[in-house]
């Protein structure tokens, strides 16, 4: 039964199995002659089926390996005998010139020879590919068996490797080492060299030869990375390119024009990209760009930026946005920090900033050039002009900086693509020169900036639209960002603001509030707290005044002539008191003696106010007040002329003295001083404005001189003339906000440093309370970070404060190494 079944199974093998075992020779003979025909492109008479069946039969005879060997041998012979000879024949001697060909004729000749050679090679390769494709198809069955059962590479891979070894890597003449590939490489590189120097070459032809190198592998496993193109050609190409671009870089630098350099470099970049796409392989694109970046750009960009006359400085000065952009783009390719460009930009900003600083100083002190500076600042009459000039200089300084900022913002936006690194570089440079100390003194930028705001809030924004005001303030705020010592700015701003508020100089309270909210956004809540308190005081005072007026109307005799009182009650800690009572350094200043009428009003208000707020203490700041008085002038012709005079409170007190003396009588300075107890400083200034200033001489002075001496006599001037009914008599050099002179400045700085000391102590105690013990360096760090929003504390100052706190037993030394402090509860 089993036998019967087995016979049945055998059946399918009939007809498929070859019976004769010696058929290999016949089969192979048929096959090999047919394969030769395929080589000679004479396949149309051949039957694929026959060839396939031949090879199939051989494989079934278990002689597949033999077939495989025979095919390899056949192909090898074909390549050696035919193909290699054809290719080497196309190599003309001019291709073997190793040296660089400079002469035009030679170059042309070589190019033509090269093209002939490449064409022959290309054809040989393409023929080989086609024939091998056909042969592989025919031998497919063998391949299948070989690859699965014998783990042999496909016959196609083998014959491709044969081409590599017996054509490309064969010597061009038996007596030389130079191979066909060497000639191919040098020819292609030569062509590329030609193209780089502006000639036109046959790109397609080269591309085909590159295809060949991409289609051949070093190994039979055919990994991507073992392509001949990658293993042999590409390194050579990159090396040649490296040399070329080294030279190119030197050449371009020698032309000395940064713009040209950038333009060429940019062009070279796109040229190489194009070459990779059209002529070589896109595999190389990234690598050749690396070469360019390194050789052409990275090695030269610093020098390009520095180039005298055409470098970055020139571009910045002339707003050469396009050129700057190419410099930026090139720099960005090789260095994410763009160091050379950043440095150049920063240096230029600081230079230009310093110029602005210098010109501000120069503008601020033109008079001091001619006269002695000390005198100029001490004498009020002479001082007026330079002071104004200084204020103007301060405002110009701010405007200049804003202009500079604008310029660099524009460059940053358009040329530097809004780059983050560049932005922070620019910001730090601005901050650098703004905080730069000018000569001996520290930076005046805080004061200048505050003055700029003061000026604009007083006058500048008149007639401007809301959005214009907004922009203006924003610009100012931008500068505020750069200022390190924000506490200094706050001090100045407070001082200037208090004057604006008390003297009612602000154009728009809205703008003031807007300013505060902008500052709050920029610097923080804490910063504007006191400023806001000032505004609050003002509002409360308004209410207080009106309720006081109501109180007076109800309580007193309506017929009685009253002195109307507008009052501002200020919280002393929030306001810069020192600027109100000018001379603080001396002994306790006795308050001035008010005239009777005024004194009664004062007392009445005090009564009213203290009735409302028990336990408070009011101290009167006459120096900051103003008064409207109605004055009657008896002309010599008998007429009377009335004027309403707007004067400072002190001036009002002085003038009221003359009510009590008969006409024609005089008072000496000493008498006035004794009767009013107005501080000398203020008294002199007020008398000057009443008796010396040409348009407001309500008093006459004897002798008529600018200086006020204790022996001078003062008369009421009945002949006072003014075209206006209302006359405003300002106090000389007292009320306007302007640049401080040296003394004031020292005063401010002294005040500042006291305040800073307090801030530092507060910070130290705060930190230590929390940490209990801390190493010195850590404490320093924490203090610095805590305070950096307001100012940059001086390290020595911190040390001193720590010492002082130890003395006062807030802290103690816990350890010496490393120095550590503990908090004493």
């Amino acid at each position: 039964m089993a036998l019967r079944a087995r016979q049945k199974i055998r059946a399918p093998r009939r007809g498929l199995t070859v019976t004769k075992t010696d058929d290999f020779e016949t089969n192979w003979k048929d096959l090999s002659s047919s394969l030769k025909k395929i080589h000679t492109k004479d396949a149309s008479n051949l039957s694929f089926e026959q060839l396939y069946r031949n090879s199939y039969n051989i494989v079934l005879m278990m002689r597949g390996e033999e077939l495989y060997e025979q095919i390899t041998l056949l192909e090898r012979e074909w390549l050696e005998e035919e193909v290699q000879k054809r290719v080497t024949a196309a190599i003309s001697p001019s291709l073997l010139l190793a040296t660089h060909v400079d002469v035009q004729d030679q170059a042309n000749e070589r190019r033509e020879a090269g093209e002939r050679f490449l064409a022959v090679l290309k054809e040989a390769w393409e023929d080989h590919q086609l024939c091998m494709g056909m042969i592989t198809d025919v031998l497919m069955y063998m391949d299948r068996v070989m690859s699965t059962d014998h783990r042999k590479p496909s016959i196609y891979v083998v014959v491709m490797a044969l081409f590599r070894d017996h054509v490309l890597r064969s010597p061009i003449r038996p007596d030389t080492q130079t191979t066909v590939y060497d000639v191919l490489e040098s020819t292609v590189l030569f062509m590329i060299q030609l193209e780089r120097s502006g000639h036109i070459i046959d790109r397609a032809l080269i591309r085909h030869c590159i295809y060949m190198l991409e289609g051949l592998y070093e190994t039979i496993t055919e990994e991507e990375s073992s392509k001949l193109y990658l293993t042999v050609f590409e390194p050579a190409f990159l090396e040649a390119s490296r040399k070329f671009y080294q030279a190119e870089g030197r050449r371009l630098l020698e032309t000395g024009d940064a713009a040209t350099f950038c333009k060429s470099a940019t062009e070279r970049l796109s040229e190489e990209t194009e070459r990779c796409i059209d002529t070589l392989s896109s595999l190389t694109e990234a690598k050749i760009k690396d070469v360019l970046d390194n050789e052409l750009i990275k090695n030269n960009i610093a020098e390009v930026v520095k180039l005298e006359g055409t470098g970055a400085r020139n571009m910045l000065d002339n707003d050469r946005i396009d050129n700057l952009r190419s410099v930026y783009v090139l720099s960005a390719r090789v260095d994410s920090k763009k160091t050379p460009l950043t440095t150049a930009v920063q240096r230029r900003i600081v230079e230009m900033g310093k110029e602005i600083n210098a010109s501000a100083i120069a503008a601020a002190a033109p008079s001091s050039a001619g006269k002695k500076p000390e005198a100029g600042e001490k004498k009020p009459s002479e001082k007026e002009k330079p002071v104004n000039q200084q204020t103007v200089a301060a405002i110009k300084w701010v405007d200049d900086i804003l202009g500079l900022k604008q310029k660099f913002d524009n460059i940053w936006q358009n040329a530097f693509h809004g780059d983050q690194v560049m932005q922070s570089a620019i910001t730090s440079s601005f901050s650098e020169f703004i905080n730069l100390s000018q000569g001996a003194a520290d930076s005046r930028s805080s004061e200048y900036l505050s003055l700029f705001f003061d000026e604009n809030l007083k006058k500048g924004i008149k007639g401007k639209t809301d959005s214009e005001v907004d922009t203006l303030l924003d610009n100012g705020i931008t500068l505020l960002r750069y200022i390190k010592d924000k506490d200094m700015f706050e001090a100045y701003y407070k001082k200037h603001l208090s004057r604006r508020l008390l003297m009612k100089r602000s154009v728009s309270m809205d703008a003031e509030r807007q300013m505060i909210s902008k500052m709050k956004m920029e610097v923080g809540n804490q910063f504007t707290q006191r400023l806001e308190a000032m505004f609050k005081d003002m509002t409360i005072s308004e209410d207080l005044t009106s309720s006081y007026k109501e109180h007076v109307r109800q309580s007193s005799d309506p017929d009685q002539k009253r002195v109307e009182l507008d009052i501002n009650v200020l919280t002393s800690t929030m306001w810069p008191m020192e600027i109100m009572s000018n001379v603080r350094s001396e002994d306790v200043q006795l308050s001035c003696i008010f005239p009777k009428e005024i004194e009664s009003v004062k007392q009445s208000f005090e009564q009213f106010y203290l009735g409302k707020h028990n336990g408070r203490k009011l101290s009167w700041q006459a120096s900051m007040g103003t008064a409207d008085i109605r004055a009657t002038f008896q002309r010599s012709n008998g007429k009377t002329q009335r004027h309403e005079l707007n004067v400072s409170t002190y001036a009002m007190i002085i003038l009221l003295l003359f009510n009590d003396i008969p006409a024609g009588e005089s008072l000496t300075y000493t008498e006035i001083q004794a009767q009013t107890r107005i501080p000398d400083h203020d008294l002199i200034r007020n008398l000057q404005s009443l008796a010396v200033a040409p348009k407001t001489r309500v008093l006459k002075k004897d002798p008529m001189s600018k200086d006020v001496k204790p022996t001078d006599k003062f008369f009421f001037n009945h002949d006072f003339q003014s075209p206006f009914m209302k006359v405003r008599i300002g106090v000389v050099s007292g009320s306007a906000n302007k640049v401080e002179n040296q003394d004031q400045r020292k005063e401010t700085e002294k005040k500042m440093s006291e305040e800073r000391g307090a801030s530092i102590e507060a910070a130290i105690v705060r930190i230590m309370k929390q940490r209990k013990t801390l190493i010195h360096s850590q404490l320093m760090n924490e203090v610095l970070t805590q305070l950096s929003a307001r100012f940059v504390p001086d390290v020595n100052m911190i040390k001193k404060r720590i010492e002082s706190l130890i003395d006062r037993e807030y802290l103690e030394r816990v350890e010496e190494d490393p120095p550590t402090y503990g908090y004493v509860a």
Binding site: P12, S44, F48, Y52, M140
Partner: protein, 104 residues
């Protein structure tokens, strides 16, 4: 030239070893890797030129089944559900042989 013209002809003829001829669409015949290579126009083998493939070692009865398979493949190639194809058990070894030969 003639090859490229023929490459466009829609049908090819498959001939069995014992002389049976089967005319089937070219695309259908190309389900077989061997026949596809045989008909490859760029190779210019005689089969590609004439559009006639003589398969010496496949009998008519097997080739008929092979052609049936070609059509079955063509018809179902984009189907989600592919029905089974009936193979007479006595033919299965010969068909396997032919499939091996034709690489399909």
């Amino acid at each position: 030239m003639s090859a490229s013209k023929l490459a466009q002809s829609e049908y090819v003829t498959l001939v069995s070893g014992d002389g049976f001829e089967f005319v089937i669409p070219r695309s259908t015949a190309c389900v077989s890797g061997t026949i596809r290579r045989m008909l490859e126009p760029s190779s210019r083998f005689s089969e590609a030129v004439t559009g006639r493939c003589v398969l010496e070692n496949i009998s008519g009865i097997v080739l008929e089944k092979v052609c049936e398979y070609f059509c079955y493949n063509e018809k179902n190639k984009n189907q989600t559900y592919v029905p089974d194809m009936d193979i007479p058990p006595e033919l299965c070894l010969e068909l396997l042989m032919a499939a091996d030969y034709l690489d399909t």
